[in-house]
């Protein structure tokens, strides 16, 4: 009997956990309707950075069902994400305190100078240490972080960055397609040129993607991203 009851408890526990992860369609819709920046799960830090406001989803789309009927409702809830590097406001410490604001806003560098494959490939690419050293052989060589960089370069050791804008698993994202389609970097990554430390400003969850896709009239076929 004891075993039966503990099994029951186990089962209930799993059900509760799974249910917690599957948002109720109505709730999910409500989340979708709200501006992305003020989601319940986002910590306070997120408000410091202005995020692009997403257009509200029209009410009639909030009907659960297959997309075959033309509409669907997707989750943008971050119930559990506050514990993980997938949450908005995630701002890890990097091995080198690279400052995007100084490089982009102050020194007017283009995003693509470093993230060179963003318009050619699915990944934006991380700049090579050699590229950094192109300037930093001469520039600011006295700074401690540049010394770390030089040390890596001298030892031919790559810098291991902490990823920030983590896409949920099982989804494929193609930078090239979006950049060529006229979606600016800031639409998802926020105003990186204002960031001293890069942080995640968009949930990058399916609701975030789909609302934009629907708004722009591009594909919302599952197989476009999930394969």
């Amino acid at each position: 009997m004891r075993r039966v009851v503990s099994l029951l408890a186990l089962f209930c526990g799993v059900v509760v956990a799974v249910c917690a992860q599957i948002p109720h369609p109505q709730n999910a819709g409500a989340q979708n309707q709200a501006p992305a920046g003020s989601s319940a799960g986002a910590p306070a830090g997120a408000e410091a950075v202005p995020t692009p406001t997403l257009p509200p989803v029209p009410h009639e789309t909030l009907i659960s069902g297959v997309w075959r009927e033309g509409k669907a409702v997707f989750s943008d809830v971050e119930l559990l994400d506050i514990f993980t590097p997938y949450a908005r406001g995630y701002k890890p410490e990097q091995p080198i305190k690279f400052n995007h604001r100084i490089h982009v806003e102050k020194n007017h560098m283009e995003c693509q100078y470093c993230h060179s494959s963003v318009s050619k490939s699915s990944v934006a690419s991380i700049p090579s240490t050699e590229l950094c050293m192109g300037c930093h052989k001469l520039v600011r060589t006295d700074r401690p972080d540049i010394k770390i960089l030089k040390d890596h370069f001298d030892k031919q050791k790559p810098v291991e960055w902490e990823p920030v804008n983590n896409l949920p698993e099982h989804a494929h994202f193609n930078h090239e397609r979006h950049v060529k389609g006229g979606v600016g970097c800031q639409s998802c990554h926020g105003l990186v040129q204002k960031m001293d430390v890069v942080e995640k400003v968009s949930s990058l969850k399916m609701g975030f993607c789909v609302s934009c896709h629907r708004d722009r009239g591009v594909t919302i076929d599952c197989a476009a991203c999930h394969y």
């Binding site: 004891r2 050699e130 090239e176």
Partner: protein
């Protein structure tokens, strides 16, 4: 009851809380890995974009050209090189699986050495090379050096010549189990020295094969499959060929024949001789024929005793003589051992008599540089055993003679008697185990090499990635030994320091390019070699007038023969690849092991049934394997596949199956090893208890008249072309019956009107069908509707698509135990049914995979919409939605969905092969063919960049790209100019089960065609 419940509310809540958090943590995502950029970016690499390198496949001597797809510096997939004259884009299962050998976790990682019987210890390259070079240099005058290699080609030959010059006491032997020595020797016997034969199946109107499994492992299977398939369609240029196959057992190649003649083992030689006599009676025979037939007893009594059917011989002879060009080939067991050369000579003489030489039989100039074959090596080993020759050094590379020679052969003992045993090897196999110095060899993915598969065709293989371990290519190792011996090559300005330099110098000399060689060389590297003339260019030679053949061994009545046969996996070297181990044999459908095929009569005699484990004994030992009772095996034969039974060679090969080569007859005087031995008369087959068992993937040998695989007779098609509506496909029975006779369904009865009336109700009808009324709302396809056609007339069942699909889509391997529970994960299975007539028992082969039905039964039953239909006609799987109810699999009419019962993990570095474009599925997820959706997305992306729609032929799925016969076509069904649409409207097209259950698959199969035309009077 109440007493027993000692589980308090508090405790319940505690467990509840603990499991909730455990489940929540368990369900949450894994932490992302760190990101590392390049320190200095390589020029060619853009992260996320594949880089392709042209190369050459080194799995057999065929020399197919390949393209290696790499992602961020790692090879992930192989494709055939579409421009290469040998394979033209096709690649076989063995070639596809070579990438698994490259990433095998049990590869040798660094040079090894050992003293006496101790185990291997890691050592340095420098000291190893010094040791080998010293031993080669200081070889005492009374001793010799033996260099055993796979058949070498290209610049490696020139390098070995240099090695011979540097070490005059060195003997080079090229050793290969499935050798072509008999064919070379036969060509020498008939045409004199310096010439050998090759074959062009596309030129032949009639093909007769005596055990030559040219669609599986014989000489150049991809090339031959393509040539053969060119003439297997009713609308082929030059008409459809007729193909008859003679063999003691039904092989994959035999299953593709229009007529399979089950011969007694040992009678093939007499079939060939009787055929030669019959053919030369109808054509003017040369003196060579008379002299060749002199030694053979072709009396009626003897032929009858051997089971040679003269009616078959006469029928085949009539067809051969009346054909414009024909082709007779001999191979497999009939071409092995002492009588192999006799059989090959007879086959060549038949071709010569029929005037096929220069057409379907291609004469090529060849210069035999080294002794080759089992006999040559066994002779040396025998001399070593009797101390008449002494070996200071044995260097072995690319061959595994200890494994591929009988236990009674002196070869094994030879390895214990040499001073220094060097192995230049990728794996610790049975031969490498004997080595005292092991030099790890790079795979073709890591090293430069070249090959000359045909005169004028030069393959150039460049490394497609950095070596995984501290390994070197064969050329570099030999060169390092030579340089260590104090030799220098090249000029003062351009010294040869690597095999790459050596090869370049060779190419420069050969191509005669002057100043502009650099540009030319880059072109060769980019293309994967140079080829200017067709591979089938023949030289003119006339046959010698007198061919004397030795008398064959006397045949003994009532002897049970033991036959070792090669399968798709080739010789032993495919055994260390999990893909090939789990790949079901197309005929036996067995995985992960060996089996013994025997006829029902033999099985009854020994009182055994399918699945029993038996021990088969010959004079040289015994092997144990499970029995498969098959009607398609001659009564005097027990047949065991070659390639399994390894004691070493890595985790996937070790301890799987049994090695039939070990119990073969070791005495061979010419050419290759004999694959036929005699089962001991007393206690030859004995049931034993063993933990081993037979695991087969396929449940049924019959399709219960459901018309899954359909075959039409060529004469029926001709009838249809004449204006009659002959729709029925189920002609397995009717194809060989007279037209007057009524057979199954509407096949051959009735005339026009009746046929049309029956059309709508006939589930066996072929060709485009009218759309039935639809109950479901039909899907709108705005731009694309992806579809596929498979021409079963060209499908040989070679299973290359199955391996290619797994390589592309990260399909896991589950192991023998799980396969036995029906949990294999292949996205494609090749179905075969024994529903054909007696003469051609296999109905055909049908690659079955997700049919992407428009009315898919799987879709409405999914409670979470994980599987749904999209606007491009794909039945897609959203892995992260799937909760694993398996309802879809239960409801799938084609049984093509696969469930991940466990989290299947590859050991490092096999994970490096995983395709980064495709999700690696986890436990609890359903998966199936996606029509290579990632390739569709890539093509659409490219098209969008260029502001156009996807062009026809732009997308090749993994299966269609690798298919050696190009049986698979993929494309957009909405585009009525597309190849796939045209084929789907072919008169032979049908959709599996569609006419019963209206699933509307996107995959059309084109019915297989059997050439059932009768002989006309000759």
């Amino acid at each position: 009851m109440q007493e027993k419940t000692k589980f308090s509310r508090r405790e319940f809540l505690k467990v509840l809380g603990a499991t909730t958090s455990a489940a929540a943590v368990g369900c949450s995502q894994e932490l992302p890995e760190k990101m590392a950029g390049y320190v200095s970016p390589p020029n060619e690499v853009i992260p996320g974009i594949a880089v392709w390198y042209a190369g050459s496949c080194g799995e057999c001597s065929a020399g197919c050209g390949v393209l290696v797809r790499t992602r961020e510096g790692r090879a992930v997939k192989l494709e055939g090189n579409p421009h290469h004259p040998v394979n033209r884009g096709g690649l076989c299962a063995l070639g596809q699986a070579s990438i698994q050998a490259h990433y095998d976790p049990d590869r040798i990682r660094e040079p090894l050495k050992r003293e006496l019987k101790a185990s291997f210890v890691p050592t340095e390259w420098k000291s190893s090379i010094e040791a080998v070079a010293a031993a080669v240099k200081d070889c005492p005058p009374d001793k010799e050096i033996l260099f055993i290699s796979e058949p070498l080609s290209g610049s490696a030959v020139a390098l070995v010549e240099e090695l011979k010059k540097a070490a005059p006491r060195l003997t080079h032997v090229e050793y290969e189990l499935l050798s072509r020595d008999a064919i070379d020797l036969a060509a020498t016997a008939v045409y004199g020295n310096g010439v050998t034969t090759h074959f062009d199946f596309s030129k032949a109107d009639v093909i007769a094969s005596f055990g030559a499994d040219f669609l599986e492992s014989w000489i150049s299977p991809v090339e031959f499959s393509r040539q053969w398939a060119e003439r297997r369609k009713p609308d082929s240029a030059g008409g459809m060929s007729y193909y008859v196959h003679f063999e003691p057992r039904l092989s994959l190649t035999a299953a593709n024949a229009d007529r399979f003649v089950k011969t007694n083992a040992g009678s093939e030689l007499f079939y060939l001789a009787a055929l030669l006599r019959a053919v030369s009676g109808m054509r003017s025979a040369s003196g060579a024929v008379t002299s060749a037939l002199g030694s053979l007893d072709l009396s009626d009594a003897n032929l009858k005793k051997l089971g040679v059917s003269m009616s078959v011989v006469n029928d085949v002879a009539k067809r051969l003589v009346s054909a414009g060009t024909s082709l007779v080939v001999a191979g497999g067991s009939s071409l092995s051992g002492d009588e192999g050369v006799t059989a090959a000579t007879l086959a060549l003489l038949i071709n010569e008599t029929l005037g096929n030489v220069g057409k379907s039989v291609v004469l090529r100039e060849s210069s035999k540089r080294a002794a080759s074959g089992h006999a040559a090596l066994a002779e040396i080993a025998q001399a070593v055993a009797t101390d008449s020759r002494k070996l200071a050094v044995i260097i072995t590379t690319g061959a595994n003679p200890v494994f591929t020679s009988p236990a009674g052969s002196p070869i094994r003992a030879m390895y214990s008697k040499a001073g220094l045993v060097v192995a230049i090897s990728t794996h610790i196999d049975e031969t490498t185990q004997f080595a005292t110095v092991v030099l790890p060899r790079s795979t073709s993915f890591e090293s430069w090499s070249d090959a000359e598969p045909a005169p004028g065709v030069w393959n150039l293989n460049q490394p497609s990635m950095q070596p995984i371990y501290a390994t070197q290519g064969l050329g570099d190792t030999i060169l390092a030994i030579l340089l260590q011996m104090g030799k220098t090559y090249g000029t003062q300005d351009a010294p040869v320091r690597s095999f790459h330099d050596f090869m370049r110098a060779q190419w420069k000399t050969r191509t005669g390019a002057n100043g502009n060689f650099e540009a030319q060389w880059l072109k060769y590297v980019e293309r994967g070699g140079s080829w200017d003339k067709p591979v089938t260019t023949s030289v003119a030679r006339s046959a010698t007038g007198n061919v004397a053949l030795p008398a064959p061994k006397p045949r003994v009545d009532g002897e049970l023969k033991f036959l070792a046969f090669a399968t798709l996996v080739g010789d032993s070297r495919g055994a260390n690849r999990a893909w090939l181990q789990e790949l079901p044999d197309p005929i036996a459908n067995a995985v992960w092991g060996s089996w013994v095929e025997m006829s029902p009569k033999t099985a009854a005699h020994y009182n055994v049934k399918t699945g029993d484990i038996v021990q088969t004994r010959t004079a040289n030992g015994a092997v144990g394997a499970p029995v498969i009772v098959s009607k398609y095996v001659a009564d005097n034969v027990l047949a065991v596949p070659i390639g399994q039974g390894h004691e070493a060679y890595g985790r996937y090969a070790q301890g799987v199956g049994a090695n039939p080569i070990a119990i073969l007859d070791p005495t061979t005087t010419s050419g290759g090893l004999s694959f036929v031995s005699t089962v001991a008369a007393d206690g030859g087959v004995r049931r034993v208890s063993s933990s081993e068992r037979l695991v087969q993937t396929f449940g049924s040998d019959t399709q219960e008249k459901r018309g899954i695989i359909r075959t039409v007779g060529l004469s029926t098609l001709a009838h249809a072309a004449a204006g009659h509506h002959v729709a029925d496909a189920h002609l397995a029975e009717s194809a060989f019956e007279d037209h007057g006779k009524s057979s199954h369904g509407a096949a051959s009865s009735g005339h026009g009107e009746e046929k049309h009336a029956a059309k709508h109700h006939d589930p066996m009808a072929l060709g485009p069908q009218p759309e039935p009324p639809q109950m479901y709302k039909q899907m709108n396809h705005p731009m694309y509707r992806w579809g596929m056609t498979i021409d079963l007339a060209a499908c040989t069942g070679c299973s290359a698509c199955v391996v290619a699909c797994s390589a592309e889509n990260n399909v896991p391997i589950v192991g023998k135990d799980l396969v036995s529970r029906g949990r294999e994960m292949w996205w494609i299975r090749v179905e075969r049914y024994f529903d054909g007539p007696e003469e051609a028992p296999v109905e055909g082969f049908l690659p079955m995979f997700c049919q992407h039905c428009a009315n898919a039964p799987c879709e409405p039953v999914c409670p979470v919409f994980a599987t749904y239909h999209n606007e491009e006609g794909l039945n897609t799987m959203v892995y992260n939605r799937c909760v694993g109810t398996r309802y879809c699999s239960n409801n799938c009419s084609y049984k093509v969905r696969r469930f991940n019962w466990f989290h299947y993990k590859w050991p490092e570095p096999l994970t490096w092969q995983l395709n980064p474009d495709v999700t690696v599925r986890e436990v609890g997820i359903m998966e199936k063919c996606s029509f290579c959706n990632h390739r569709i997305i890539e093509a659409k992306n490219n098209a969008k960049n260029e502001g156009r729609e996807v062009r026809d032929g732009e997308i090749a799925t993994a299966c269609s790209a690798t298919c050696p016969t190009k049986a698979i076509t993929f494309g957009n069904l909405l585009d009525h100019d597309s190849e796939v649409y045209k084929l789907s409207q072919n008169a032979r097209a049908y959709k599996v089960l569609d006419q019963y259950i209206n699933t509307q698959p996107a995959v059309s199969y084109l019915a297989r065609v059997r050439n059932d035309q009768k002989t006309t009077g000759a």
